[in-house]
Each structure stands twice: as structure tokens, then as C-alpha cells.
Amino acid sequence: MAEGLARDASIFVAACVCGVASGLFGIGGGVLLVPFLALFFAFGQHRAQGTSLVALIPPTGLLAFLAYARAGYVHWKIGLLLIPGVIVGGILGGLLAKRLQPQRMRQVFAGVMFVLGIWQAAAAWWR
């Protein structure tokens, strides 16, 4: 029981860290949550991804969103246009995940993110 509680508490703390990243960078937080669950809590890859999707169902970014909206940092038209595509694509991706090796996909994705990250950091530095 106590062990379960300790695990619950540490999952909550890890999620708080993901939340800070979520608000700070305007992201869902799953990109951090999936590796956290896999690395620290020994979740299998599919299970970590499924659990991360549960965490993304409620509007966890609401408070962060309001902070941005108050400052006028929301492009409503483009935002609303993007939503349907993301939902439909999500279903396709879920179906694909069953067939593909998620490990390979993840590594390709990590590679793209790495390049993108270096590009963004460099662009911000030398301007």
C-alpha cells in the first residue's frame, strides 16, 4: 500500500515537471511524459503511450492557455482549423502504432526533434 502511494506520489511529481514544460513551451507534455513513464516507472513503450494519451484527454493546459490568452498570444483562426486534422490524424496514428515498430518510429522522430532543436536554439542565438 505504502509502496503504491510512493509510486503514485512520484508519478504526480514527474507529471508536474511535464506540466511546467507544457506551459512553458505550449506543448501537450506527452513528449516528456512518455519517456518519463518508460524510464522511471518501467512502463512498456505502448503502455507509456496509451497512458500519456489518457493524461492528455482533460484540458490539462487550460491554466497555461489562459495565461497566454490574457497576453493576446493566441491565433484563433489557425488554431481552430488545425483541430479537426489532429483528431483524424490521431485515429490513423493509433491504428498505425499497432502495425509499426514504435521503437523505430520514436528514434526517427527523436532525430528530427534533435535537428529542429539545434536549428531553433541556433536561430535564437545568432539573431
Partner: protein, 135 residues
Amino acid sequence: MTLTVLLLGLAVGVLVGLLGIGGGVVLVPAMVYLLHMDQHMAQGTSLLILLPPVGLGALREYWKQDQVDVRAGILCALGMFVGGYAGGLIAVPLTSRHLKGLFGCFLILAAFLLWRKPQPKSPVADSVGEESSRG
């Protein structure tokens, strides 16, 4: 323009389902570079997109395969809700340039974490995994 935006949404959605992520990490740079948005504007808009349950369709597929830990998921949602507020408060007063730089560093870190893979075949990870699925 409208078509580009719709297609972009679709492409991001595939990644949402495939990788179990929110998609913001792709949406933000895509909006900055493809749609020429300011960094703050892209992040705020990304948070707007993530308000509805965009991952619900993908979740259904994972659910069918019993690859979901609901208890941990709810705890994570609570933690992210609290942490998200703090993150939003930190981000808004930053200059766009600093925020962009930070975002870049975060992408590099996240890429590193994502690349690292705990060995699924190791006996320790297996036994812990079993325990956690029971808990």
C-alpha cells in the same frame, strides 16, 4: 493557406496517435516556420489546439489492446494541470527570442530522452513492469 493548415493538422495527428504525445512539440515549430508565427503566438495557439481531447481516437486503439494505465494517467493529468499554470506564468513575460532559444534546448533534451530506451528484455525491468501493472 487553409489547405496547408488542414494538412498540417492531419500530419501532426498521425504523430499524436503513433507516439502517444500531445503534438504541440511538432505544432509549435511548424507554426513558427511554415506559418511564420511569433514564438509566443505559436505556443498559445498550440495550447488552444490541445484543449479538446485530440488524442481520444488514438486512445481508443490503445485501450482495445489493454495498453493503458488509467490510474497513472489521471495522476499525470493532475500533475500536468498544476505544472502547466507555473509554466505559463514563466513563459509569458519572456522575450520571444529567449523563449525560442529555450524551446530549442528543450527539443534537444526531449529528443535525447526519447531516443534512450530502457531494455525491455532485462529481467529487472520485466518484474518491475509486472508489479506496476498490478498496482
